[in-house]
């Protein structure tokens, strides 16, 4: 769920952003800090805003400067940022997990399903993410703003000839994308664990999902993330030995997304729903 959300933002921004998962991590940490001072609800609002501002600054003073040198320079820049953010996080909050917990107002069990308690916080996460994505989808597909954003990603020169400030559009898109990554960190960091390795463990999966789904395809990314989620969680239940290795299918479940990536690349290089070859 979380990674599918991150993936969607990722494909929307049109920039391959290595620091995306780092911004997600930073969002969780800032939310932790604010929730220590003022409580969870202010954190839910302020942390994404802070990450959004940071995203705008990164775009304005980093990405824009290297944009003319092409995608490679952008990619390298965000790669360096990922290092810096992860070191800063370790510097400020230390190497261990921080005790960022689910707010007490939401830490009760909503209902029971076959004897398993369903935590209310999970429902809250689902509601927030669905609301955000429904809003995002409507804005991109149904409003004039969305039209300009989409056009700027595919035909930046034409859009700027029509009188729109495309650099500012890019900056805002990047800021919104960063803010949403931060939001994912705010609502995911306390449900999972907030620790310095969280960016790295998520980052690789995001890349796999984007490539398997097909570059630049929102619905492909959604499909791929659901597929990978099912395959990975399903495999942990299969107790059949894999030939030649002496382990069971359940044992190699963490490998499956990457195996899926390789298979898709061989069978269908453009990805599941990709329309163009990268």
């Amino acid at each position: 769920m979380l990674s599918s959300g991150l993936t969607l933002i990722f494909s929307m921004m049109g920039v391959l952003n290595f620091a995306h998962a780092s911004l997600y991590m930073l969002g969780a940490y800032i939310a932790y800090q604010i929730s220590v001072w003022f409580g969870f609800w202010p954190a839910l609002l302020v942390a994404p805003l802070a990450i959004g501002v940071l995203g705008a600054l990164i775009e304005r003073y980093g990405l824009r400067a290297v944009h003319s040198r092409g995608h490679l320079a952008e990619l390298l820049l965000t790669f360096g940022l990922a290092y810096v953010i992860s070191e800063v996080v370790k510097l400020v909050w230390g190497n261990l997990n921080v005790p960022y917990d689910v707010p007490s107002a939401l830490s009760f069990s909503l209902f029971e399903l076959q004897g398993q308690a369903f935590p209310a916080y999970r429902a809250f996460m689902a509601v927030v993410s669905i609301a955000v994505f429904a809003g995002l989808w409507l804005m991109l597909k149904r409003t004039r703003i969305g039209l300009i954003v989409q056009a700027s990603l595919t035909h930046p020169a034409m859009v700027s000839h029509l009188g729109h400030n495309t650099p500012r559009v890019f900056m805002l898109v990047f800021a919104v994308g960063s803010a949403l990554a931060g939001l994912a960190g705010v609502i995911g960091g306390n449900y999972l664990v907030t620790e310095p390795g969280m960016a790295e463990s998520l980052g690789a999966i995001i890349f796999v999902v984007v490539v398997v789904g097909g570059l630049g395809s929102l619905s492909g990314a959604l499909l791929a993330s659901v597929l990978i989620g099912i395959v990975q969680n399903g495999a942990t239940l299969v107790d059949v030995p894999v030939p030649l290795t002496g382990v069971t299918v359940a044992h190699i479940a963490p490998l499956l997304p990457y195996i899926l990536l390789v298979v898709v690349m061989i069978v269908r290089p453009r990805g599941l729903l990709g329309t163009r070859n990268a």
Binding site: L76, L91, Y258
Partner: protein, 316 residues
Amino acid sequence: MIARYLLAVVVLAALPHMFGNDSAISILNTMAIAALFALSYNLLLGEGGMFSLGHSVYFGLGGYVTIHVIAAAAQPGWWLPVPLMPLVGAGAGFLFGAIFGYVCTRHSGLAFPMITLGIVELVGTAALMFESFFGSDLGVGGDRTLGPALFGFKVKTRIDVYYCILAWGIIAVALMRFYIRTPLGRLTNAVRDNPERSSFIGFNPRRVRYLTFIVAATFAGLAGALSAINVERMTPDNITLFASGMVLLMAYVGGINHFWGPVLGAAVLQFASSVLSDYTELWLLYVGLFFIAIVLWAPGGIAGMLAASWRWAFAK
């Protein structure tokens, strides 16, 4: 030109004798291995425009195969001497480069880094699972002093390792420099700059990328083998995104448009990681900031800055 190279070789051969202590020599060894690894990486990034995040796979697998062979050399009747074992690592790099490269090089541009990232995660995760080959967290060890000698030469002390690295380094650097001057190496540049045009004149860009990928993986495997001989141990840490990122940083910081750039970058970053890390735990933060500064303001890297200041100083 030849005189200059001979002088460089003499200086390099004399280098370990200028520093008396063992720790300096061991830093030299890791630097030299990193330099070789970074040079092989630059065949991808600098020459071929392929931004790989999975180059540590070939370094690591080359090293793992070699360490198993070193361990096997302890048995009686073994015929392959340790100084020749980098060939085994290069062979492993070649083999795995041919396998994984086939998948990776189907794409160029932005999908390429993501697929190589997928491969490094695949192999890295597998390395933690299959302990019989990769060992546990401690990895696999071997003793380089056992096994037959090569014309009376055995790799025992750190200086022996240094000369072993130096000999293989000279061979590898000469071959890499030769490679980029072959028609295939020139085609690699052409594919980097304009894949469409090179396919119009009859060369399949995917095939050119694939061949260069295999060559780069072979030399990475060689560097991995030298590392296995140097530390006598290979751990799963060697096959991670972090390890791949370090070689990327080395090549880019040094300068990817210049053949010797990655050597400078490797020297600087290895120095940072082994000396600076004694003073501060934040060395990686400084390395990251330095890298961002290079990307923003000096895309030519250290080599580019040196060349520019050279031109500035001697321009009339």
